[in-house]
């Protein structure tokens, strides 16, 4: 490990090479021989392996994984027809879709970050998203404006989170069981209310929706404009929230108190912080953020509410949080990765319509692999899941 070639840099180089292995085989470069992706992918994996040997475990594994994934993807791409590739890999559309799919995950993962940094495991993110999704539509329908819909959705998620807080902080419940209960409650309540209020027809079509933002200058730049020129307001808000979360949690006194409650509540208390109050606040904020992610699904993305529409996104968000090592920037990166895999899964049916349904499993398979690959090397807050001693 001398000079510029630190293990860390070599590992990152492996990641880049893995990405390149896939990139060269698809439009616009469209290399048709499998040799190039094979060479690049193997080089990436080798770089990762070297970094691993040199002791850089996390980045090293990223390099190995990216190299092998790029190798497989690159070979698959060179074996398929150019026409199909041109239709599947439209980068601007893929990246725009990636941002759309990543946003609900990002909100929920940032919510989870607040809760778990304070020491409370939040398995209930899924249910809190569902609350936001239903009450977002309902609020927008009743009040006639999406702004209030969003507020009502967030409050509903916050309220459910408060239940989780009461049970896990004050009553010292098992946090995972309590979170599971939260999910059942939300599933039942939202399913009950949507049938009771809207009946067979489902939520109305003319509900006020979160608007897209068109940015004049950006819109006219050829490639960037296609991706970022016209995005939903909540996508921008999500990116902003990631930044704000980083500032609040890692650069302000309240953030330090939050982290101290999750790392060492006893020390926090000695310093005059009330870990119980911090945890209450953090869990409630977590529910509100997850609910905004859910509301994005219903009034920003698909424009209706259907029963259990979150379909495991709360758990994927949890995986995003864990893979992102409870840090906002890394969580954003993983949310984008999972968003990209979903976006790709939506376009793959071009290759095989009969297997179209099977591609739907892709985000879940990738979550499984990511959680298994990264979790042992991802260290949670020290007091996570431990109730406070009365």
């Amino acid at each position: 490990m001398s000079g510029w070639a630190t293990a860390r840099r070599v590992g990152w180089a492996g990641v880049v090479l893995g990405g390149l292995a896939f990139f060269v085989a698809v439009p616009p470069l469209l290399v048709r021989t499998p040799v190039v992706p094979v060479v690049l992918g193997l080089a990436g994996a080798a770089a990762g392996a070297w970094a691993l040997r040199a002791g850089e475990r996390r980045i090293g594994w990223y390099g190995v994984a990216a190299g092998l994934a790029g190798l497989a993807g690159g070979i698959a791409a060179t074996q398929s027809g150019e026409g199909n590739l041109e239709r599947v890999v439209v980068w601007s559309a893929l990246l725009a879709a990636m941002l759309r799919y990543a946003t609900p995950l990002l909100f929920a993962a940032l919510g989870g970050l607040f809760s778990e940094r304070s020491g409370v495991i939040n398995i209930g993110l899924e249910g809190m998203m569902l609350m936001g999704a239903f009450f977002g539509v309902w609020g927008a329908d009743v009040t006639g404006t999406w702004v209030l819909g969003l507020v009502i959705g967030a409050l509903a998620g916050g309220l459910l989170a408060l239940v989780h807080a009461v049970f896990s902080v004050s009553l010292r419940a098992d946090q995972i069981v309590s979170g599971t209960a939260i999910n059942f409650l939300a599933l039942g309540l939202t399913g009950y209310l949507v049938v009771d209020i809207y009946g067979e027809q489902g939520t109305p079509d003319n509900v006020s929706e979160v608007p897209d933002v068109t940015i004049p200058v950006l819109e006219d730049i050829p490639f960037v404009g296609d991706v970022l020129g016209q995005m939903n307001l909540l996508i921008w808000l999500g990116l902003l929230t990631a930044l704000l979360t980083w500032v609040v949690v890692f650069r302000t006194p309240p953030g330090l108190r939050l982290r101290s409650a999750g790392e060492n509540p006893l020390a926090a208390e000695t310093a005059g912080v009330s870990p119980a109050r911090v945890r209450y606040l953090a869990v409630t904020v977590s529910g509100m953020l997850a609910a905004v992610g859910g509301a994005y699904l219903s009034i920003g993305f698909v424009h209706s509410f259907t029963q259990n529409m979150t379909a495991g996104k709360g758990f994927i968000a949890l995986a995003v949080l864990i893979c992102g090592r409870w840090r906002p920037g890394a969580a954003l990166a993983f949310a984008l990765l999972f968003g990209f895999s979903t976006a790709l899964a939506q376009r793959l049916p071009v290759f095989s319509p009969s297997a179209a349904t099977l591609f739907q499993t892709l985000p879940y398979v990738i979550t499984l692999i990511a959680v298994a690959g990264v979790i042992g090397r991802s260290i949670p807050p020290a007091a996570l899941g431990r109730p406070l001693q009365k």
Binding site: R172, D174, L266, E269, P353, T361, Y364, V371
Partner: protein, 395 residues
């Protein structure tokens, strides 16, 4: 004074054993009563009549069959309903065991639903294909392979936990969704296991007569009660013996109480995780097999979307305090609740079945919530028995 709970048992198994000692049979009963009260509150707030609703649900369960005073005609109707209740109790016992066994090892298996599906898929496939086999071998081979498939599916989460520490809650949820979409693909239009006769209907081929389980109570043409119930009851015994009377079960419980201490005592924690998750998958896979071979006889993609048998297993296990007897009674309760709220049995004039299904989720959520906070229910019970020493309460 707040401090991390260093000395107290933080594993689920540790807490639940305290719960077991402290509450007896009364806490689950209290939990159920509270859950139904809160469910009734939801019904009341949304402008329906909770008493009429619960009465209508109860009448659909067939549990009146046990009342000695009802008329012969009523008893015949009740018998039909009770058969449906017991048909649903059968898989719930098994998915309940799938969760309970994991809990006893300190694992939380939310993957019962996926493991149940995998068993059901294999049952639909082998039950409809192994042509020409005699009835007994066909049934035995099919059920055995369904159990194997479930065990493999559940084992994935165990291997991941043992090898990398990946939390089983996340991995089993992901495996559930993979199983759901795989089923949509297998039995959907153009899928490899879609029926050969009607290419436009997303459903598997019908299970051959040789693979169908015999009906011992009621009319086989009208969904009578199949012998799967006895298999499920036998599994309760297997569960109890395995856990309480074998060396393996001792290791499982030791890991559940305190993995660190178990490791120090020379028990391989990782191997136990894999073994336990595989056994859980076996139970849940068997539930799927019994449902398909016993009364469904096919798997339709619509059924995959609405099936909740595996998830209800979580509430069954928690309410039954992860014991064999408790699981049986909790499965009976939820089997009755599902039957009583089904489209077939609940009068829509009184309460819409779509609402009732979601009411079941709410009741289930409240039950799980209260079990998570065993301390609270125990404490409520304690209020009536002042003066008992406090150290009996679980920490």
């Amino acid at each position: 004074m707040s401090a991390p709970d260093a000395g107290a048992p933080i594993t689920v198994a540790g807490r639940l054993s305290g719960y077991l000692r402290a509450g007896g049979v009364i806490t689950p009963l209290l939990t159920v009563v509270l859950a139904f009260l809160i469910g009734g509150l939801v019904v009341l707030i949304t402008g329906h009549d909770p008493v009429a609703t619960y009465r209508a649900i109860f009448e659909g369960t067939g549990l009146q069959w046990f009342f000695p005073w009802i008329s012969a005609a009523d008893r015949d109707v009740a018998a039909l309903n009770l058969q449906q209740t017991l048909i649903l109790t059968t898989p719930l016992v098994l998915t309940g065991l799938a969760v309970a066994f994991a809990f006893r090892c300190g694992l939380f298996n939310i993957g019962g639903q996926g493991q149940y599906f995998v068993g059901a898929y294999v049952a639909a496939w082998l039950g409809s294909s192994l042509d020409g086999l005699a009835a007994l071998p066909h049934v035995v081979v099919t059920i055995a392979l369904c159990c194997l498939a479930g065990a493999l599916w559940g084992g994935i989460a165990g291997v991941l936990k043992a090898a990398t520490g990946a939390h089983e809650v996340i991995t089993t949820i992901m495996l559930n969704w993979i199983a759901i979409w795989a089923g949509q693909w297998l039995f959907g239009q153009g899928g490899p296991l879609q029926n050969d006769t009607q290419k436009s209907v997303p459903v598997s081929s019908d299970v051959l007569p040789s693979a169908r389980l015999p009906v011992f109570w009621g009319d086989p043409e009208l969904q009578g009660l199949h012998v799967g119930l006895f298999i499920a009851l036998a599994m309760l015994v297997v569960f109890w013996v395995l856990l309480n009377r074998t060396r393996v079960g001792f290791e499982v419980r030791a890991v559940g109480f305190n993995p660190e201490a178990a490791r120090a005592a020379g028990i391989s924690v990782g191997r136990n995780y894999v073994f336990v998750m595989a056994v859980c998958g076996l139970f849940a896979g068997m539930a799927g097999a019994l449902d398909v071979l016993g009364w469904q006889f096919r798997v339709a993609t619509n059924d995959i979307n609405v099936s909740t048998i595996g998830f209800i297993g979580i509430a069954v296990a928690l309410l039954g305090r992860n014991t064999a007897v408790g699981t049986l009674f909790a499965a009976l309760l939820f089997g009755a609740l599902l039957t009583g709220t089904s489209v077939r049995n609940l009068d829509p004039e009184v309460f819409e079945p779509e609402l009732a299904l979601n009411l079941t989720y709410v009741i289930q959520g409240v039950i799980v919530l209260f079990v998570s906070v065993d301390v609270l229910v125990v404490w409520l019970w304690r209020l009536r028995r002042r003066g008992r020493p406090a150290q009996e309460a679980p920490a």
